[in-house]
Each structure stands twice: as structure tokens, then as C-alpha cells.
């Protein structure tokens, strides 16, 4: 298990994020991209029907129950490139909450504005965003306000244009780049003015707590969780 260096720990504490370039590469990346594309193609007609019916958004598309569709998505949850980091930040007490295997169609406006995910009253909440295609400037990348995760940070202006947020950092990167961030912090996806959809996988974790424990949440993949560490991570046992 790869643990963060002292410099990485310091950056996580002060800035609230870490970028792991080439976190996934080579055959593993190609297999992940292929699984993403196959599952997205299978789910697309259903998504479009729900968009027409007004019960799902056209602005982003999440593959439903991805962990049940391909083991490659399960293996991302405790991937060696970032699992040790998350364990370190959570005091070796981690629970996985949800995956979002997400396609964001091009649009001159992002589907979401600047926001934190949870208040500080929630146990440490962390996400890993993995780019599945290259994301350059103006291509719908992830953006974060470094330091905004700290208690007492802000207030932050309610800007109408995403690029108006002071102090923001937009993360470009090659496919396979992973961005770890503290979800107390202000973040968003920037506008994508290219014709290319942004594909990424967002993994949501928290420091383990009884309130978040649910033995049923990932019961469908229990056969893939042979070790005690994995069973705890997926909430299959305490």
C-alpha cells in the first residue's frame, strides 16, 4: 500500500487536494476505458428515455450500478494508486459510499456550480476523480479552490460564471490522471466548449462511521470482497 509522502500529507492538509498523474496507465487504462464505453453504450437508450420523461438530467449521464457490470470498476475502489492515501488521511478507517461513472456532454455551461459536498459536521468526506479521456483547458475539467476545505474558510462569492471564482485551480490532465480532494472544499466541473464529452469516474469515500455503515449497499458484489479489508471498505461488515 503506497502511503503519501510528508510533502503530500502537507499539501492535502493545507490545500485539500492531490493530483496523481498516470495513476492508471497502459493495459489497465485501456481495459477501463473499454468497460466504460461498453457499459455507457448499453445504458444510453435508457438514459435518453428518462431524459425525455424529465426524470433524469441530460447534462450528465451516470452508468447505473457500475460495480455490478464489470469487475474493473470494483478494483478501482481500492486501487493501489490512491487507496493508501485515502487510508492514511482517514486514519486507516475508511468506507466507500458510491461510484459515479460519468459522461458529461459538451455544453457552454457546466451542469453544476461551485459547491462543497458536505458540511464540516460530516466525517471526513473524500472523492477521487479519474479522467478517462484527456482533459485540456476548456474541456470540462474538475476545478477546486485550494484551501477552501479548511474550517472557517470563506465565505465564497456566489459567482454566476464559474471562471469568476477567486483562487480556483482547474485540473487538466491525461487519461488516467486521478485527483483526490477533500469534499468540504469548493469544487465544480468547468464548462466544456469542445465537441468531446468528458468521461470520468468519481469515487466517494468517508471516514468510517456507524451512520454510513450499510451491509446492503454493496451486497451484490459481496463475492468479489474476499478480504476483511475489502469487506470493511464496502460496508459489508463492521
Amino acid at each position: 500500500m503506497t502511503r503519501p509522502t510528508e510533502a503530500q500529507r502537507r499539501q492535502w492538509k493545507e490545500e485539500g487536494y492531490l493530483v496523481l498523474q498516470d495513476a492508471i496507465v497502459g493495459d489497465e487504462l485501456r481495459r477501463l476505458q473499454a468497460a466504460f464505453d461498453r457499459c455507457a453504450a448499453e445504458a444510453r437508450p435508457g438514459w435518453l428515455e428518462r431524459v425525455e420523461a424529465g426524470v433524469q438530467s441530460a447534462m450528465f449521464f451516470d452508468i447505473p450500478n457500475p460495480l455490478e457490470k464489470d469487475e474493473v470498476f470494483v478494483d478501482l475502489v481500492d486501487h493501489p494508486s490512491w487507496y493508501g492515501f485515502l487510508m492514511d488521511f482517514s486514519g486507516d478507517d475508511l468506507i466507500f459510499l458510491a461510484p459515479q461513472v460519468r459522461t458529461v456532454p459538451p455544453s457552454p455551461v457546466s451542469y453544476v456550480g461551485w459547491h462543497p459536498d458536505v458540511p464540516h459536521t460530516t466525517p471526513l468526506h473524500m472523492k477521487v476523480q479519474v479522467y478517462l479521456n484527456d482533459v485540456g483547458p476548456g474541456e470540462g475539467g474538475f476545478a477546486y479552490v485550494p484551501g477552501s476545505h479548511r474550517k472557517g474558510a470563506g465565505p465564497f462569492p456566489a459567482v454566476r460564471r464559474i471562471d469568476s471564482m477567486p483562487g480556483q485551480k482547474v485540473f487538466t490532465g491525461r487519461a488516467g490522471t486521478a485527483i483526490l480532494f477533500n469534499s468540504y472544499g469548493m469544487h465544480t466541473a468547468v464548462d466544456n466548449r469542445t465537441p468531446v464529452p468528458r468521461k470520468s469516474i468519481i469515487l466517494i469515500y468517508e471516514k468510517w462511521s456507524r451512520e454510513r455503515y450499510s451491509s446492503q449497499r454493496f451486497a451484490a458484489i459481496a463475492p468479489l470482497c474476499a478480504t476483511r479489508a475489502r469487506r470493511k471498505l464496502f460496508g459489508l461488515e463492521v
Partner: protein, 302 residues
């Protein structure tokens, strides 16, 4: 002729009036709008007078052809200081620009309502707005400063940002709480009113909320009866009203009743008090904007 009184800044920004179908005032008929039904302008004016609403926007109903607009044009001509008008455009018309120009030529019609944009339904398809069926309409609106009154369906909500990006000069008014109804979700309720089965907040908020970055976009706080699962004052919609207020601000929001559909339930009077019920923390200035100031400025009431 009724005259605007001291409260003329109260503007009802979206209502419908129609006459019985006749040679003088031809219109389309349906189970919903039978030929002998009428909701005349005199009835609307009586309600407006009783509740100190000085002006209103009359929105065409009962057909898209020039002839079908006869009653709307009659009302606008009769009460030029009371009303502005919004027309409709036939979907298959060869020259939308001619139709738009003829309807707006000194008539009081200031713009047009669109419920379809005519672009790709799949958000992952290539988007070229010049290929949208309504592109000529947006282009003409930009050239002639016409207002577009938008009530798109959920399957097209994602197309709106592309059009706004291309036409930042076109004044746009999103109808009825920025909700974009889903396919098959329209019905007529037992009182003969439109009913829209939709989650609130709507899923289309991901396409509409961030349109607040375009200064040419405003919206109606109206149509609550059609979306709410509760009787007046529709408290289940209070949170969504607050979100719209936070996102757009009072100077981009307009109160409207959607008369006549509210005339019996809950009645015009209760609708004039609805913002106090759903947005009780409005400042006096914000309330004045929503109840008429925004409409007066944005629609340029005389």
C-alpha cells in the same frame, strides 16, 4: 377604458384570454378549449382591477396562424397601455421571419413563445445550432429585438445554453418556474387546467440554473397549480422558489398568474399574495421587482 392606477407597477407577466370560436375570432378547438368556451379580456381586467394589477402580458392560445391571433390582436389594440402580447409560430411555416414581422408590426406583440427548439434530442450528438428548426426564429429575434418566451420540453433543455451563447442579445423569458415538462407528463385535471407531473426541483435544473450567467435570461414565478401536489399556497414549491431567487435574483424574476387556469382555484386574489407565502423574506425592493418591476424593465412596458 380602464386606466392603470397608482399600482400599475404590478404586472401579471403571463396570462391567456380567448373568445368563443367565431368568424371574427377564429381559433383551434379541442376538448380542452371547446368552441363555446370563452375567457374574455373583460373578465381578466375585472380581476386585475379588483387586485390592483395594472398591466399584463397576453400569451396567445388557440392556434399559431395569423388568423388565430385575431382575438389577441383585438385585445392589444383595444387596451394598448394595459397589455403586451406574445404570439405563436406555426411549426412548419416556410418563413418564420415574415410571420414574426407581420404579427409584431405595430400590434403590441413583442415576442413569441417556443415549446420546441428543433435540435438533437441526444445530448451526445453533434450540436450545430444552425441546423436547429428554430434557428431562423432566434436569428430574427436577434435582428428585430423580439422576446422569446421559452417553455421547452425536458428532452431539449440541454439545447438552450447553445442558443443563448450564440444569441446573447435576445431577451429570453423562461416560463413557469424554469420547469421543462417531460414527454407524456402533461394532462388536464378535473378542473380543466393543465397538469404537469414533474419532480420539483426539476431534473432539468442542471441545464437551466446556470443560465443565470446570461444577463438576457429571466423567468416566471408562475404555474404553481400545475406542478404542486398541494393546494394553494403550494408550499411544496417554496424551496424551489428560494433556489430560483438565489440563482437569478429578484431583478430577473417575474410574477404571473397564468390566468384563466387559476380563476376558480385558488382565484386571482390569492395568486397576488403567493410570493408573500412562498418567499416571505423578500425585501420590499425585491417584492416590487418580482411583482412588476422586472417585467416593466425587461419587457419595456410603455
Amino acid at each position: 377604458m380602464p386606466r392603470p392606477d397608482a399600482h400599475s407597477l404590478r404586472i401579471d407577466a403571463h396570462v391567456h384570454v380567448f373568445a368563443r370560436a367565431s368568424a371574427e375570432f377564429p381559433r383551434e378547438t379541442s376538448d380542452w378549449l371547446p368552441p363555446d368556451r370563452e375567457e374574455p379580456v373583460s373578465k381578466l381586467l375585472k380581476e386585475m382591477e379588483a387586485h390592483r394589477v395594472g398591466r399584463a402580458v397576453l400569451v396567445q392560445i388557440g392556434g399559431t396562424s395569423l388568423e388565430h391571433h385575431a382575438y389577441l390582436l383585438h385585445c392589444l389594440k383595444t387596451y394598448p397601455r394595459r397589455f403586451l402580447g406574445i404570439g405563436l409560430i406555426p411549426p412548419d411555416i416556410p418563413s418564420a421571419a415574415d410571420h414574426m414581422d407581420r404579427l409584431t408590426d405595430g400590434t403590441g406583440v413583442i415576442g413569441f413563445r417556443l415549446s420546441s427548439l428543433g435540435g438533437p434530442r441526444d445530448p451526445l450528438d453533434r450540436i450545430d445550432i444552425r441546423e436547429f428548426r428554430t434557428y431562423p426564429i432566434w436569428k430574427r429575434a436577434a435582428e428585430k429585438d423580439y422576446v422569446l418566451w421559452l417553455y421547452p420540453r425536458s428532452g431539449e433543455a440541454h439545447l438552450v445554453p447553445f442558443l443563448l451563447e450564440a444569441f446573447p442579445q435576445v431577451r429570453v423569458v423562461f416560463n413557469h418556474l424554469f420547469i421543462c415538462p417531460g414527454k407524456g407528463k402533461f394532462s388536464i385535471d378535473a378542473k380543466g387546467r393543465p397538469r404537469v407531473d414533474t419532480p420539483v426541483p426539476p431534473m432539468t435544473r442542471y441545464a437551466t440554473m446556470r443560465l443565470n450567467q446570461y444577463e438576457n435570461v429571466t423567468g416566471h414565478l408562475s404555474g404553481q397549480y400545475a406542478f404542486s401536489r398541494e393546494p394553494w399556497p403550494y408550499r411544496d414549491l417554496a424551496g424551489w422558489h428560494s433556489q430560483l431567487l438565489r440563482a437569478f435574483g429578484a431583478n430577473r424574476l417575474m410574477w404571473a398568474t397564468d390566468f384563466p387556469w387559476i380563476a376558480e382555484d385558488p382565484g386571482y386574489g390569492p395568486l397576488t399574495r403567493l410570493m408573500d407565502e412562498l418567499l416571505p423574506d423578500l425585501t420590499e425592493h425585491e417584492r416590487a421587482d418580482i411583482m412588476g418591476g422586472t417585467a416593466q424593465r425587461f419587457l419595456r412596458f410603455p
